[in-house]
Amino acid sequence: MARHRDKRSQWLKGILDLCVLGILVDGEAYGYEIAGRLAVDGIGEIKGGTLYPALAKLEEDGHVVATWRTGDGGPNRKYYNITQTGADYLALESVGWQTLSDAAAQLMGLREQVERH
């Protein structure tokens, strides 16, 4: 089980930024909210130690912009919004990911299994 988790975290390293951008396409969100969405959407539990450096990198690259705001009666939070550069990056890289995952699925024989069912 631990080995399965290691493998999964290795895959995620390459696409976590794209998953985060995919969430932000639906609207602004703060870090803990993004972590929750990643878990609910089946990506799995992403630790803060992985998520926040990824968010910092997206911000540095200009793929997201962040603003501090007070939520409805709640505490100050740092909300992230996707930029046009981020949207372009997501569109470009998600095509690459789709191509790679299709090829990998083909090699693993997954496509035939899916088609048989």
């Binding site: 803060g48 130690g49 926040y52 450096p53 505490p75 372009d88 299709d102």
Partner: protein, 220 residues
């Protein structure tokens, strides 16, 4: 906030300082992580790892120059080079003198025009985005353009000739400057950073490849 969280955040601040992260960014990271710990109730080390390791990861993504400044500096360089190229080219083609010269006032004018165009385009884009860009551009405008222009006026050096070429050489310089300007513009509008490194070149290459339809996997 629990004692464990305070202790973790204090260690994180020190570690971030040791990695040379700017104060404003440290405040950002700490406030955000503190909020995450409050929301989740998680143990800080279990959630974020050791403070030193987290600081190293956060500092790794930290650029010493903010993204807006990199972009602004790039666009300013682009426009200044292009404006200087146009001015020298015009002087060579239509000037009365046999030789084309570059004066200090001319350079200040090129920088000023570059600043004006970059600022207006930035304000327009950010207005469309619903954000204000003024806070990002005010200091470069005040310091470089206004300050420089005043200084040049005070010392009466606007007509000071920095370089002088024959018309044909001036045209070559103009073309080179325009070429550099266009090259900088291509870099500024690409997703890569400046100065580029191997990773950027790889992204640039993938950017070109992305212009083609992805090849479907072969069917067996």
């Amino acid at each position: 906030m629990t004692d464990a969280n305070w202790h973790f955040l204090a260690q994180l601040v020190v570690a971030l300082r040791q990695h040379g992260v700017r104060g404003a960014r440290i405040g950002d990271h700490v406030a955000e992580i503190a909020q995450h710990l409050d929301d989740s109730g998680a143990d800080p080390v279990a959630e974020f790892g050791a403070p030193g390791e987290l600081a190293a990861r956060l500092a790794d993504d930290e650029q010493r120059i903010p993204a807006w400044m990199r972009s602004f500096a790039m666009r300013l360089a682009t426009m200044t080079l292009a404006m200087a190229g146009v001015a020298i080219g015009m002087s060579a083609l239509f000037g009365d003198e046999k030789r084309a010269s570059v004066t200090l006032g001319g350079i200040m004018g090129a920088v000023g025009l570059g600043l004006l165009i970059v600022t207006l385009s930035r304000l327009l884009v950010d207005r469309l985005d619903g954000r204000s860009a003024w806070s990002a551009v005010r200091w470069p405008i005040v310091v470089v353009w206004f300050g420089g222009s005043v200084l040049v006026s005070i010392v009466g050096a606007a007509d000071y000739v920095i370089a002088e070429w024959s018309r044909s050489n001036a045209l070559i310089v103009a073309v080179l400057l325009l070429g550099f300007g266009i090259g900088f513009a291509a870099l500024a509008d690409s997703p890569i950073r400046f100065p580029p490194h191997a990773g950027h070149l790889d992204r640039l290459r993938r950017g070109f490849l992305a212009g083609h339809a992805p090849t479907p996997p072969p069917s067996h």
